[in-house]
């Protein structure tokens, strides 16, 4: 059973603060003092939040890949073990706890969306002294654009709602759209404004790309967003498999095994003393399709769409 512990409300960091955080991360990552400690082999210490079904599956996958990993909800117990270590925070709650704890080794965030990662790291930036990197929870915008291109088989306009906390994604999304030969239209939703009303500014778009922004997409507005887009015959591309079940047309998403496979490569490098890499989107991804919505929107789903993705070896 997944524990529904909600994050504190986002503080909407401004662009300048985000850039400061990213610059600090890049500097720290390249610093030799933050390499994995050389006094013997480093230990992988996995920080989790309260155990739930998702956490249990993630921990099971990780311990299969790293049998010697130390897993605990108690970060103090992990840090008390001493010696060189690489820390892996599983989920937003664990990341927030690790950022606020006296952790000396490199910290890797996993199963946290990029907006949540940016918000948490930006909030902890003033007192952070160790390198942090991440494998984001959602598929890369490039993967979403590939999926859209394959679904519509033509150049269509992709509408994207952004808020202040996700506005930094605009260049990345534009590059991904251009690479997939798609046009993109952005609408920035001001704080306090209704994202459903903002959809009226995206009437030219054939498809709406959802980004994991709690200000724009949450349980309260999701139904209205889906209803509104459906009335305009716009398909919605989600960022998780659950959103497809809730009524979006399709989604590029990553499974636990996809993320763990990528984490294996990253953690192997860190444990071997290599420098901390940049936060990155998942290398491996796959697609989920809502066939009912696709039929109602006259979107033909063939085998190439269903087989789309990048799968670990």
């Amino acid at each position: 059973m997944t524990t529904a512990r909600r994050l504190p409300p986002p503080r909407s960091p401004d662009r300048r603060a985000v850039l400061r955080a990213l610059a600090a991360m890049a500097t720290v990552a390249g610093s030799p003092v933050l390499r994995a400690a050389g006094a013997g082999p480093a230990e992988l210490r996995v920080i989790t939040s309260a155990l739930g079904e998702a956490t249990s599956q993630i921990v099971a996958a990780l311990t299969r890949r790293f049998p010697g990993a130390q897993v605990s909800e108690d970060i103090k117990m992990l840090t008390a073990r001493g010696g060189p270590a690489v820390y892996l925070a599983v989920g937003p709650a664990a990341l927030e706890a690790a950022l606020n704890a006296d952790v000396t080794g490199p910290l890797v965030s996993a199963f946290v969306s990029s907006p949540a990662y940016q918000r948490l790291t930006a909030a902890a930036a003033p007192r952070r002294t160790r390198p942090v990197t991440a494998v984001f929870a959602e598929a890369a915008p490039a993967a979403q654009m590939q999926l859209i291109r394959r679904l519509y088989r033509r150049k269509v306009v992709v509408g994207v709602l952004l808020s202040a906390s996700t506005r930094h994604l605009q260049p990345l999304i534009e590059r991904a759209a251009a690479a997939a030969d798609l046009a993109v239209s952005f609408e920035v939703v001001e704080p306090g404004a209704s994202p459903v009303r903002a959809l009226s500014a995206l009437t030219s778009a054939s498809v709406l790309l959802a980004v994991p922004d709690p200000e724009l997409y949450n349980a309260q507005v999701a139904r209205a967003v889906l209803e509104s887009s459906y009335r305009r015959r716009q398909g919605v591309i989600g960022f998780s498999k659950a959103m497809v079940g809730a009524g979006t047309l399709a989604a590029a998403y990553t499974s636990i095994d996809d993320v763990v496979a990528q984490l294996g490569e990253m953690l192997d490098a860190l444990l071997a003393g290599q420098p901390v890499a940049e936060p990155q989107y998942p290398l491996y991804w796959r697609v989920a399709i809502n066939d009912t919505v696709a039929r109602s929107l006259d979107v033909v789903i063939d085998a190439t769409v269903r087989g789309l993705g990048n799968f670990p070896a």
Binding site: T2, T3, A4, R5, R6, L7, S49, G52, E53, A54, T55, Q57, I58, V90, G91, P92, A93, E96, A110, F111, V112, S113, P115, A116, A137, E138, S194, V196, R197, L199, P212, P214, Y217, N218, A219, Q220, V221, A222, R223, A224, E227, S228, F239, S240, K241, A242, M243, V244, G245, A246, G247, Y253, T254, S255, I256, V259, A288
Partner: protein, 474 residues
């Protein structure tokens, strides 16, 4: 009170009673319709509240998107259509979550106290992780079957109903119902009035007839044609009039019924006249026969004497036939009317009344049955004659009548027994002899046994079908 009412109803005429009987259901129906209508106000309000709940529920479901998206225009259009289609809705107000008016139609102040229902707009929201939770952001295998939960209040819908339209409709319906009941009542009263008029006319004719008969006028008219019990009453009155008329004027009619009503005196007179005429003819013929018998020589004519004898015999037969025909009305009608058993029981009761000191009893042997009317009359006559002997001469304290069927021959045996002194008097002997002679002439066998200690038993065996000569009069 009830007696007063009964007396007052009892004094009503036939027409008034029938009209009252026809008008009462109509009045009760009108009263019931009015009472039902009186109790319908609360029911109407209850119905309106239920309807308001239904409309508000449907509208709350449909308003979610409009409230969240801020699309008031679409909601306004939907609400206007709803108001146009349902005249019972006075107003619809939709508020946002902060209770600020979002859509309000018709937007005019309403009277207080109207049925009103307000419901929150709460949708079911997908219970999935939009990567906004503290738990790991991950897609699970089972995520394609999301659950739903009740979301926060997005607004409120208030539906206010008006009773005006329904009241108007109800008043129209009530007026129609009352009109139909009143019309049906009027038609019923008209029909009953016509029937009462006709019935009253028939009864008046019968009353007049009875009054006329009371005054000795028996020529009554039949009156208007009627059916059922009135027809039977009319027939009875007419028959009574005919009977009484025939009794008052016996010589005028000659029907069997009237002959029966003439009484035994008339029959005896007619019988005497017939027999007297027959005896005169027989005497003259006998004198001629005597002269012919005294003649000798050439004057002797044996053939003429034989003819005269044959004529005398024919005259005797004619006299006998005429006598039987005249006596036929004396046949006991009670047997025809009541049946043999009841007639014999009546006969025994008559004997008891005539001689209370004697116990009379009637026994029918198993298997005894008499379906032949003529034979029943004959049995009744035999018993009547035998019991007449007992009552007149026996001085008995017990007398019994026993009826027995003789299956092989289908004969009937009548046994009359008493414990009296016996029919030793000359009158009794003569009467017994006449009975024996009459019954023997009709084919019956008679056996009379007298015990030495007292008591007499008369055994009469009747043939299977006793001929009963009934000749038409004249």
């Amino acid at each position: 009170m009830e007696r007063t009412a009964e007396r007052s109803w009892g004094s009503w005429g036939l027409r008034s009673l029938l009209l009252a009987a026809a008008a009462l259901p109509t009045l009760l129906t009108l009263l019931a319709v009015l009472l039902l209508n009186f109790g319908s106000q609360e029911r109407m309000r209850h119905d309106l509240e239920e309807r308001a709940t239904l409309v508000a529920g449907a509208l709350a479901e449909a308003s979610e998107y409009g409230l969240i998206s801020g699309n008031a225009a679409a909601l306004d259009r939907s609400v206007r259509e709803l108001l146009a289609h349902d005249r019972a809705i006075a107003a619809i107000d939709i508020f946002d979550a902060a209770r600020r008016p979002f859509v309000s139609l018709p937007g005019q102040p309403l009277a207080a106290g109207l049925p009103s229902v307000e419901l929150p707009v709460r949708s079911s929201v997908p219970d999935i992780d939009f990567f906004d939770r503290a738990t790991p952001h991950v897609s699970m295998a089972e995520d394609l079957q999301p659950t739903f939960r009740l979301g926060p209040v997005a607004g409120y819908v208030r539906v206010t109903m008006t009773t005006e339209a329904l009241q108007r409709a109800q008043q129209r319906r009530l007026a129609l119902e009352l009109g139909i009941v009143a019309a049906a009542g009027l038609v019923g009263l008209l029909v009953v009035g016509l029937l009462a008029r006709r019935m009253r006319a028939s009864l008046l004719v019968l009353l007049d007839a009875l009054q006329a008969m009371r005054q000795g006028r028996y020529a009554v008219s039949e009156g208007p044609a009627v059916g059922g019990e009135l027809r039977r009453l009319q027939g009875a009155v007419l028959e009574l009039a005919e009977t009484l008329g025939a009794a008052a004027h016996p010589a005028r009619d000659a029907t069997p019924w009237q002959r029966h009503a003439e009484g035994h005196g008339g029959i005896a007179r007619r019988l005497m006249g017939r027999l007297d005429a027959a005896l005169v003819a027989v005497r003259l013929s006998a004198m001629q026969a005597a002269r012919q018998a005294d003649a000798t020589g050439p004057a002797a004519d044996p053939q003429a004497a034989a003819q005269t004898a044959a004529r005398i015999l024919a005259l005797a037969n004619q006299a006998q036939a005429a006598g039987e025909a005249l006596v036929e009305p004396l046949r006991p009608r009670i047997v025809d009317a009541l049946g043999l058993e009841a007639a014999l029981a009546e006969l025994l009761q008559a004997c008891v009344r005539a001689q209370p000191s004697c116990a009379f009893s009637l026994h029918q042997e198993p298997g005894f049955a008499c379906a032949d009317p003529a034979q029943s009359v004959e049995i009744h006559r035999v018993v009547q004659e035998a019991l007449a002997l007992v009552v007149a001469h026996a001085q008995a304290s017990q007398a019994s009548v026993r009826l027995q069927a003789l299956p092989p021959s289908r004969e009937v045996r009548v046994v009359v027994t008493d414990n009296g002194i016996g029919e030793a008097s000359s009158g009794a002997v003569a009467r017994l002899a006449r009975l024996r002679e009459a019954l023997t002439a009709r084919g019956a066998r008679v056996d009379v046994q007298q015990a030495s200690a007292g008591g007499t038993t008369i055994v009469v065996t009747l043939p299977p079908e006793t001929p009963l000569v009934i000749n038409p009069p004249g």
